[in-house]
Amino acid sequence: MNVLFATLTLVTFFPVLGVLALLFVPEEQKDTLRWTAVVTSVITFILSLVMLAQFNPADPGMQLVIRAPWINIGSTWNIDFHMGIDGASLLLVLLTTFLTPIAIFSSWTAIGERVKEYMIFFLLLEVGMVGVFVSLDLFLFYVFWEFSLVPMYFLIGIWGGQNRMYAAIKFFLYTMAGSILMLLAILWLGTNVGTFSYTDMLGKVPAAAQGLLFVAFAAAFAIKVPVWPLHSWLPDAHVEAPTAGSVILAGVLLKLGTYGFLRFNLGLFPEAARQYAPAIAVLAVIGIIYGAIVSYPQKDVKKLVAYSSVSHLGFVMLGLFALNAQGIQGAVLQMINHGLSTGALFLIVGMIYERRHTRELAQFGGLWKVMPLYGTLTLIVTLSSMGLPGLNGFVGEFAILLGAWGAGGAGGSYGSVLYAAFASLGVILAAVYMLWMFQRMFLGKVENSANEGLKDLNWREVTVLVPLLIVIFWIGLYPAPFFHLMAPSVGKLVSALQTAAVALR
């Protein structure tokens, strides 16, 4: 099998070709640079559609697998270049390749300086993210995991706001700190189980060792998600990052964490996952409510959206650790949903920031009258984010909460019912802070004269938002294709988790 021209290699590394092309374009030709990056990312998206076409949804296992020896030292170190996808990672790759061109396109006028490096970093970031989702070798996974940090570090540190260096370093150090434990765990696994391959390792991790390994992996992922109370880096990173950086940060990078939980903590350590599930569910529920309460009084709209991610990702975590089909499928869908809705919210915030150079809620009010189209599109995204039925967020949240309610067994144990009930309170709170944000920005009279002559969205901004809105409606009304793709893979995982539950008894 030809590793170099395999579909997954192409999807992962195609942006590198764009980077090469960008290197030969002079810095002054900004539009050429922009077009090169956009076209590269669009082609990558098309390649990922080819990948989708080659994927067989009925097969629960890893597909489009490529594997070649990479680093082999003696008999204990067998690190392979090993890639493959199942339903869940397929959807997340698609999310990444779908959001990247949108994010790049949205930077058209926002980024006017050092366009060349910006685009290079952005494409490299895409390589890192896709690489994380398709890696089946734990060492390779770790390489991509760390690699994806670097471009984001520069995107925040160079093109960010006032406090960009502080935010960039904090972002980097926090994620690094968590990853170290994971690296140790990976090395332990590789040497003790005798392989770095995820598929070879499945079901072979001794139950006695799972507890510590679970914690080591969870440390890396929980910071990335972020699980409450490890969210302190998130508002800084979001507030300082450029718009497109925030879109990718919220849209994809946070999902690296939840994906890690799904793939490794649930997949490799099912017994430990069972045991830790209640603890994680408690953290998730606290995150849901805490994130919502803290979002409400924020004065900076970008910070409000950032904190809302803590709440939304809490739902994803709760669904994953419901350990049943409804919870996990809902969680995977909610990862996509959060990428779409929160990504769109950050784009929306960026649009007003470009016009007003402020994100203070107090500076706005009555914008719907001045910018009617902007107001309407924002409203739809707001409603999607607060889980209105008919839009995407509801389908994911409902499945998660239903799964969480029934997590304890047939009728739902006492504990799981409480988690689901408290998490459902988060749905009320979502309406509280999202509608408050909408009112502060768009309703009431225009009282600040600086808002009076604002231009409504231009064609480029509409083009950026429309694809997101289409998928928002699509998932809300007809999510069947998405569930269809992930159902067999998740089903396989769930039955493994059930076997583990039996083993524990």
Binding site: V3, L4, T9, V16, V19, L23, E27, A68, P69, F81, E117, I158, M165, I169, F172, L173, M176, S232, P235, D236, I293, V294, S295, P297, N324, A325, Q326, Q329, G330, G365, G366, W368, L383, L388, P389, G390, F398, A399, L401, L402, G406, G411, G412, A420, A421, S424, V427, I428, A431, W436, Q439, L443, G444, V446, E447, Y478, P479, A480, F483, A487
Partner: protein, 698 residues
């Protein structure tokens, strides 16, 4: 015929799409006409369903459109249930809905966002139809939240008006959030249902309870109580009724359609639909009946002390919804549905008529302004669109009944339909409200238990309040002499508004025929129709109850004449204020429920969230713990170590952690000097390294 059912939602959606795309261009009145046609077409589909049921022996039909959410055991389709209950609601929603669409063409004339109003109205019709036609709880919930969204949008339709410019926006938000509290109950009810019955489809769920009902009685109680929380939100019952009066900030057609005739009855529909589950939960039924009766009483009393013409009707609506909820709680499902229908007729009529009054008053005010001797000499001669904020006289309130008087002279048609609506609401024979209210009272009367008597007593007093405040309103608005200049210049509304009023007035007179007592030929029609879907316990007509309720209504009307009619008001003070004193203030202050919520829930929440966000999360967690303790501590430790330990070790240590700061900074500094080529070169080398690795792998 049944396969046409998806069209009932497709038509309003089509109307909506046309207006979204082209509404602005086609403008006033065409956007309204298209929307009205869409609603009318949906009504035709509803009639066809009625015919279909009548010709196929009233067997419930299910028409599946597509799968929606399928995960493991969870399988929720987009599917329609056509039975006598859902078709009743479809006819109501599309029929009354279409009339209100037509009325709104006149009412919203000249509004700068005319087409958008009709987009929302069509969206509402579509959502409401999803609510009543779905074959499962989740679709009901989709419609449930969908109508909540429309309510939010339409309450805040004039989003830059109201107190401080944000009053309307705040009212919309309040409605949505309070409803979400109810939805929380609904969602938990669905979780319980699903994990018990492994389905959310009505027929499966009800079959489960019919088979296992007695064994799972506590479950049924829990489910139904959570449902009641949902119903309390949507149908504005204690303790969640507080949003509905504020919802009157929306344009009046909205108040009639959403906040009186259709959306607020969704809670009653849900309870009637779930009758099988309720039948295994007597404790819940009793709770529901008592909540309904108490709401009828409390809201009725508040209506006595209001001056805003729409606010009186709003509290009246809450009170009447209490009647329906009480009936549903007592298992008198036919009576509940009967009152739901008649109330839709006469309350829509009253709201639209009050809209006509407000319209007339505002035109009176604008006429004055145009003549130049009103409103402090603005003297603008350009025509002012209706319902525009009162620039000329900011203190003048066109909805305050104290500003009206003698309007029967200026608006004769509106006056007559208003009187018909009032008599129907007050429950005077033979108007529609008499028959339906009488059935509810009779159900309570015949229960024979202590809670039956409590319900009966509360409802009877509420009925007294109803007749009294309607009498008060009619005398204050239409009789006596004009108390302000605009009232003198008020004039009748255009025909496009009056025709729907006349249609609704006719329904308010004859609506009782839907379910006359059995001793009249053709009686129990609604009962025999609903019976095909819901288990019905017929209620025998009771002459005694009918006599009591009639006497109470007439007595209350007479009393209102003595207070407001015989010696008409001339000042702004309500005569009742003198006789009732502090009690009147208490009623006028709406039992201070809003203030209670403000103190007990809202302010503590605001304080908590501010504390959590600023003090806890930012100052403590972010600044002190993370930046000062962890970050600073590390920096100090690193500095300390550097002084004592060999520099090489420290450096290596720094590479991994803290020293990255300096490294990265210097790296960035180099980038900032402009030598980007250096960096690009590095990247290129890296990329080539990766690529060459692949070639080796081959």
């Amino acid at each position: 015929m049944f396969t046409l059912i998806p069209l009932i939602i497709a038509f309003p959606l089509l109307g909506l799409l046309i207006n979204v795309v082209a509404g602005k261009r086609i403008g006033d009145p065409w956007a309204g006409i298209i929307a009205s046609l869409a609603a009318g077409a949906a009504f035709v589909i509803a009639v066809l369903q009625l015919v279909g049921l009548a010709t196929t022996g009233f067997e419930p039909q299910v028409v599946k459109l597509a799968d929606w959410i399928v995960i493991g055991q969870l399988s929720v389709p987009w599917a329609f249930q056509i039975d006598t209950l859902s078709v009743t609601m479809m006819l109501l929603v599309t029929g009354v809905g279409a009339l209100i669409h037509v009325y709104a063409i006149g009412y919203m004339k000249g509004d700068e966002r005319f087409h958008r109003f009709f987009v929302y109205l069509n969206l509402f019709i579509a959502s409401m139809l999803v609510l009543v036609s779905g074959d499962n709880y989740l679709m009901l919930f989709v419609g449930w939240e969908g109508v909540g969204l429309c309510s939010y949008l339409l309450i805040g339709f004039w989003f830059d008006r109201g107190e401080g410019g944000v009053g309307n926006a705040r009212a919309g938000r309040k409605a949505f959030v309070v409803n979400r509290v109810g939805d929380f109950g609904f969602v938990l009810a669905m979780f319980l249902i699903f994990w018990a019955a492994k389905s959310l489809t009505f027929t499966d769920v009800f079959k489960f309870f019919e088979e296992h009902g007695a064994a799972v009685a506590p479950l049924a109680t829990a489910i139904t109580l959570f449902m009641m929380l949902g119903a309390a939100g949507k149908s504005a019952q204690i303790p969640l009724f507080i949003w509905l009066p504020d919802a009157m900030a929306g344009p009046t057609p909205v108040s009639a359609l959403i906040h009186a005739a259709t959306m607020v009855t969704a809670g009653i529909y849900m309870i009637v639909r779930s009758n099988v589950i309720f039948s295994f939960a007597p404790a819940s039924q009793m709770t529901v009946a008592l909540i309904g009766a108490a709401t009828a009483f409390v809201a009725g009393s508040i209506a006595l002390g209001q001056f805003d013409i729409k606010r009186v009707l709003a509290y009246s609506t809450i009170s009447q919804l209490g009647f329906m909820i009480a009936a549903a709680g007592m298992g008198a499902y036919v009576a509940a549905m009967f009152h739901l229908l008649t109330h839709a007729f006469f309350k829509a009529l009253l709201f639209l008529s009050s809209g006509s009054v407000i319209h007339g008053m505002e035109h009176g005010r604008h006429a004055l302004a145009a003549e130049g001797h009103g409103g402090g000499g603005h003297g603008s001669h350009t025509p002012i669109p209706p319902h525009a904020p009162a620039h000329d006289a900011p203190t003048f309130d066109a909805q305050d009944m104290r500003n009206m008087g003698n309007l029967r002279k200026h608006m004769p048609t509106t006056f007559w339909v208003y009187v018909i609506g009032s008599l129907a609401l007050a429950g005077v024979v033979p108007f529609a409200g008499f028959w339906s209210k009488d059935e509810i009272l009779t159900s309570a009367w015949t229960m024979g238990t202590w809670n039956g008597w409590v319900v009966f007593g509360l409802l009877l007093v509420a009925a007294f309040f109803t007749a009294f405040y309607m009498g008060r309103q009619v005398f204050m608005v239409f009789f006596g002499s004009e108390r302000t200049e605009p009232a003198k210049h008020a004039h009748e509304s255009p025909k496009v508004m009056l025709y729907p009023l006349i249609a609704l007035a006719v329904l308010s007179v004859v609506g009782g025929a839907l379910n006359l007592p059995t001793f009249i030929p053709g009686g129990e029609a609604l009962g025999r129709w609903i019976e095909h879907t819901v288990e019905v316990h017929p209620i025998e007509f009771d002459g005694g109850v009918a006599l009591i309720s009639t006497v109470v209504a007439l007595f209350a009307i007479g009393l209102s004449y003595l207070v407001y009619g015989r010696r008409p008001m001339t000042t702004m003070a309500d005569p009742l204020e003198k006789s009732l004193g502090g009690l009147f203030t208490f009623l006028h202050g709406k039992w201070y429920v809003d203030e209670l919520y403000q103190a007990v829930i809202l302010r503590p929440f605001e304080d908590l969230s501010r504390f959590a966000a600023y003090a806890l999360d930012w100052d403590l967690w972010h600044n002190v713990v993370h930046d000062t303790v962890i970050g600073g501590g590390f920096r100090r430790l690193a500095g300390f170590t550097a002084g004592f330990v060999d520099k090489g070790i420290v450096d290596r240590f720094f590479d991994g952690l803290g020293g990255f700061v300096r490294q990265a900074a210097s790296y960035l500094r180099r980038l900032q000097t402009g030598y980007v080529r250096n960096y690009a070169l590095a990247v290129l080398v890296g990329v080539l390294a990766i690529l060459s690795l692949f070639f080796f792998l081959k």
